[in-house]
Symmetry: C2
Subunit: 154 residues, 2 copies
DNA sequence: ACTGTTTAGGTGTGCGTGCAACAAACTAAG
DNA sequence: CTTAGTTTGTTGCACGCACACCTAAACAGT
């Protein structure tokens, strides 16, 4: 009977997981669509730009950056290629390690990020946060902290 | 000063959103990897199979199915192509509407789903639920219900 | 120094997806 | 019945990603 209870519990939890997954995908799509029409900037690019903006000296090693934006190294290579082509990011060599490269946010990149950020924040607020009470945000963050701690790095 | 508080709140909320996003992506990847190595079944395929299994008569119109698995119609067309090639799903015409097609789960599809489901459930449990207390699951579900209600269909 | 191992980043290739355009079938108005 | 408009599913195309492999540089032990 504990077996039965466990299975019923699993079915219940399963629904939660699926809902969360669907909600996440939907929100991300709304966000990407809005960023795309308003600033011609994919969500992944926005992520990279904002990660760089928060980093010291606006620069990050390719590998570190790939980890932060949850992208494969090869995927990041191409993404940085595009951003560099658009003048938003530059590659700069690392002095202490000749095989290292920094992705550096350019002034144009800063400007573009600043331009897109209101859209991004408005989107997050509209699609995600306005559905939550302020206290629930704390709960979610705590919850997610456990998630990230429990899963570890892939 | 209210302005200041709002901005700080936004920064706080932003962190939550990002963490949730990252956690979601990571968990989905773990799940997909496990399904792939154990049953050679991508996560999207598993989603389709389980949606069909839950549907009456194990069949769903392409359009409906596309909506449920959060895929574009064209994307679903190709995915069903693959599943049909593997014998897990069949296409059947709709009598009342000659331009409609049903995706129908085959017996092999049922078997494959049954085979993969333990892996899936174990994965969800390991990566998602074990990090949560049982009461938090209720909170999350309630929360996600608001999210899906607030965003509506894309 | 010298050879084997590890790490950083980039390239070739294949896969899966969405968008736009399309053909077929339903629907509605005349 | 005819014609215009809508809906359903598929196809051409391009894009973005990951995997496997490759080169160059750093590091380790002898």
């Amino acid at each position: 009977m504990t077996l039965l209870r466990d299975e019923r519990l699993t079915a219940e939890e399963l629904v939660v997981w699926r809902m969360l997954q669907r909600a996440q995908v939907r929100i991300a799509r709304h966000l990407e669509a809005e960023l795309l029409v308003a600033h011609d900037l994919p969500l992944a690019s926005y992520d990279v730009l904002s990660q760089l903006a928060e980093a010291p000296e606006r620069r990050l090693r390719m590998n570190d950056l790939a980890g932060r934006v949850l992208l494969s190294r090869s995927g990041l290579t191409r993404l940085i290629d595009r951003l560099q082509r658009d003048g938003l990011v530059n590659r700069e060599a690392c002095e202490s390690d000749a095989r290292g490269l920094f992705a550096v946010l350019t002034d144009a990149g800063v400007a573009r990020l600043a331009e897109a950020t209101p859209t991004y924040l408005r989107g997050v607020r509209a699609h995600f946060l306005d559905a939550l009470g302020p206290d629930e945000i704390g709960q979610v963050r705590e919850l997610v902290a456990r998630l990230t701690g429990a899963t570890g790095a892939p």
